[in-house]
């Protein structure tokens, strides 16, 4: 279809919205509620445009183009209407940019700036600012909410949770849990996807910045930091770098300059997870195929804490299917305060472990009461990628000018298999790289070891592999068709579970809570869209391919820790430190 926008000719397929057509023509139409591919509801009225022949201005995010349409996005009428809409929002907005978590990273702030608003003509009644800090991961502030409903759509449709919905009516409307109760009183899984899409500071992570600075400044604490794989592919965005810029070395340098004593990599325990989780899968397969005994299959991955809480709440009958492996974050804490503390001659009491995560659910996970197998709280503080970005600024570090530096030794060594934990399909691929070799003694038969059918952003990905050429001890698996599935976003987890309930057979299923996996986590720089997801995934694969070692079992430090400390996968020490159990939760 052909149309003109501001006299520029554009040709787009039928059904395209004016907003999308304008974007194609390089014209930016501001909006506060639209979320590409997720929500187009025309609620905020900021995207108004003038269409020749139409009496009123139209919301461009919901209006499909028509042949010969003449659209104007920058007339006086449009500018004034948009300005009025945003001034109204601001007049009811109970916020103060200087002290707001979203200062400099706020869509309302930047739309107001772009529209040239310098004065608010209307005197609105401010919303009630009731701050809900009831959960470990998130803080909600209704006074800042502009009722765009992005969080509602994401929580309900993408995540299949539905913890948030408009409550009450008229001026009293708030976007929140049932009857505006605390988030802790409903079955929110703490994924933080609401915070990732919120255009303003109405839902943000529960900040651990102050406690981390305090630990760094504490005279007798040794502060150990671990960085999750997905952080290195996104942190650069906090400093103006294009999405997909890898900043591993600069991140390590920044952490060192901020005063962290030891800089380690969650990748190390990601490799460890693969060994433990892979052996757990082989054990389940052995029980099922060789011993013909009942055993819970498929095995579900367990590294994503939002998914774990989701399963505990909505599908407790599948708890036996969850891998008992702790997530890499939690394995790291347990190892740092035992194996590493002893090796380094530190009293674990004085070891303070900080995680840098792309995730807010990790804040929830860290405070689960059972996560103290080291004899101490395994993880003391969790910072999101965004929080780390802010701390680097607070420290006055010129991030982009930093040299590349290396992780510290032992828990800083990892393989490419650990890097790909960051994206959907990655844990599965890493597990297959190891499991296939254990069973057959050969490399996974894929180019660059990438299991291509399981890569990419499709919501549910499946693959079947016939196992042949097994080593003698695994001959019972000869000819077995191994069926695996990979899902991301909890709505897709729900779909695959329904399939399984209807009799579909899988042996191993990877679930990541956030769309795209951790690279699209609730703690990543905003606003994550599919373009950014792809760029960050590309960066992660590049990091993987650039490593000399690509398979977890090849990590020399992993061999060392089994030799010196853990003894063997699924052994007694592993069981105590690296595995966990789950609880059934009430669904509200």
């Amino acid at each position: 279809m052909k149309l003109t926008i501001n006299a520029i000719s554009v040709e787009v397929p039928e059904g395209t919205t004016i907003l999308a057509a304008a974007a194609q023509a390089g014209i930016k139409i501001p909006t506060l509620c639209h979320l590409e591919g997720v929500q187009s509801i025309g609620a905020c009225r900021v995207c108004l445009v003038e269409v020749e022949g139409a009496k009123t201005l139209v919301a461009s995010c919901v209006m499909p183009v028509m042949e010969g349409m003449k659209v104007y996005t920058n007339t006086k009428r449009v500018r004034e209407a948009r300005r009025m809409v945003v001034e109204m929002l601001l007049s009811e907005h109970d916020g103060n940019c200087q002290t707001c978590n979203r200062n400099n990273d706020c869509e309302l702030q930047s739309v107001a700036f772009d529209l040239g608003i310098t004065d608010i003509t209307y005197q609105g009644v401010k919303g009630r600012n009731e701050v809900d800090a009831s959960t470990p991961a998130l803080v909600r502030d209704n006074g800042k909410c502009i009722k765009c409903r992005r969080c509602v759509t994401v929580c309900t449709q993408v995540q299949a949770v539905g913890a948030l919905f408009p409550q009450f009516r008229g001026f009293k409307t708030v976007i929140g849990p049932a009857f505006n109760s605390d988030l802790a009183d409903v079955s929110c899984v703490q994924c933080g996807q609401c915070a990732a899409v919120c255009p303003v500071g109405a839902i943000v992570e529960n900040s651990h910045i102050e406690r981390v600075w305090a630990a760094i400044e504490h005279p007798s604490k040794t502060v150990v930091v671990q960085t999750a794989p997905a952080v290195r592919a996104a942190l650069g965005e906090c400093f103006g770098n294009p999405p997909g810029t890898l900043v591993t070395g600069k991140m390590v340098a920044a952490l060192r300059r901020m005063g962290f004593d030891v800089i380690f990599d969650t990748n190390f325990t990601a490799d460890l997870t693969i060994i433990e989780e892979g052996m757990e899968l082989l054990k389940r397969l052995t029980t099922a195929v060789r011993d013909k005994q009942p055993v819970a299959l498929p095995q579900f991955t367990s590294c994503s804490p939002g998914w774990i809480k989701f399963a505990e709440t909505y599908y407790p009958e599948f708890i036996p299917n969850l891998s008992t492996c702790k997530s890499p974050q939690q394995m790291f804490g347990a190892i740092a305060k035992t194996y590493w503390a002893k090796k380094a001659g530190k009293d674990p009491k004085n070891v303070y472990v900080v995680s840098i995560m792309p995730c807010v659910a990790k804040k929830f996970e860290a405070q689960r009461p059972e996560m103290d197998d080291s004899g101490f709280v395994d993880i003391d503080a969790v910072l999101t990628t965004r929080e780390l970005g802010r701390m680097i600024r607070q420290a006055g570090i010129d991030f982009n000018a930093l040299p590349d530096e290396d992780y510290d030794r032992i828990l800083g060594t990892s393989t490419g298999a650990a890097d790909i934990f960051a994206n959907t399909g990655g844990v599965m691929e890493a597990a297959l790289r190891t499991a296939y070799e254990v069973i057959t003694g050969r490399n996974l038969p894929f180019e660059e070891l990438h299991v291509t059918p399981l890569a990419g952003l499709e919501g549910i990905k499946k693959a079947a592999m016939t196992i042949t050429g097994t080593l003698p001890e695994y001959s019972f698996l000869e000819g077995v068709v191994l069926k695996v599935a990979v899902v991301h976003a909890l709505g897709n987890a729900k779909r695959i579970i329904e399939e399984i309930k209807n009799g579909e057979i899988y042996h191993f299923v990877e679930v990541m809570t956030c769309p795209g996996g951790c690279i699209g986590g609730g703690g990543q720089p905003r606003l994550t869209d599919n373009e950014k997801r792809k760029k960050r995934i590309e960066a992660i694969y590049k990091e993987d391919e650039g490593k000399k070692l690509r398979k977890s079992h090849d990590n020399p430090k992993i061999k060392q820790i089994y030799g010196e400390f853990l003894n063997m996968p699924l052994g007694k020490t592993s069981h105590h430190l690296l595995h966990t159990e789950y609880i059934k939760r009430e669904r509200v």
Partner: protein, 182 residues
């Protein structure tokens, strides 16, 4: 169907029993499109209000998020999540009643009952609501308690009126009038 037992002391059906009855209602409606509002209406008639336990059950059975069910309940003013008292007090704040002291009368009810508009006393005797005109403007300010209209109510006499209902005796001199006269 579960046979319904009534409470021995007052002849009322207990909330637990009603929750069991709600199961039957849900069983009949669970697969229907747009069942939420009709089910909420039935539940409100059964319980006299919408207890949280019933709402959670409705949400779970109809496969809707609890937040959405709560949102719908909060959106329509005819749904109430507060148990209704034995007597419903509705103070008129229509224009005529308002200018002739309706507000003071309401204030007096709030004080005497110790509750706010939309609430119910702890002994579940009284619920307090605000109304807009019963058509008794000539004798404003008016208050409607259950089906009785009290006219020219004085704030100072509110205590007496309440006592009369507490003792379950209807006041002698009040003329009753059907809603919507004039």
């Amino acid at each position: 169907m579960s046979d319904v037992k009534t409470c021995a002391c007052c002849g009322e059906v207990s909330e637990e029993q009603l929750l069991l009855q709600l199961d039957d209602v849900l069983a009949q409606n669970r697969s229907k499109e747009g069942a939420l509002i009709p089910v909420l209406q039935i539940a409100q008639t059964m319980f006299g209000y919408l207890p949280k336990a019933a709402l959670k059950k409705i949400a779970l059975t109809l496969g809707k998020p609890y937040s959405e069910v709560a949102g719908v309940v909060g959106f329509y003013s005819f749904f109430s999540t507060m148990p209704r008292g034995k007597h419903l007090v509705r103070v008129c704040l229509g224009t005529a009643c308002y200018v002739r002291g309706g507000k003071q009368v309401l204030e007096s009810f709030r004080k005497h009952l110790g509750i706010d508009v939309g609430q119910t006393t702890e002994d579940r005797m009284f619920s307090l609501e605000v109304a807009r005109c019963f058509g008794a403007c000539g004798l404003a300010p008016a208050v409607m308690i259950d089906d009785d209209i009290h006219q020219r109510v004085k704030a100072a006499r509110v205590g007496e009126i309440i006592d009369q209902y507490r003792k379950e005796k209807k006041p002698a001199k009040v003329k009753t009038q059907k809603k919507g006269g004039k």
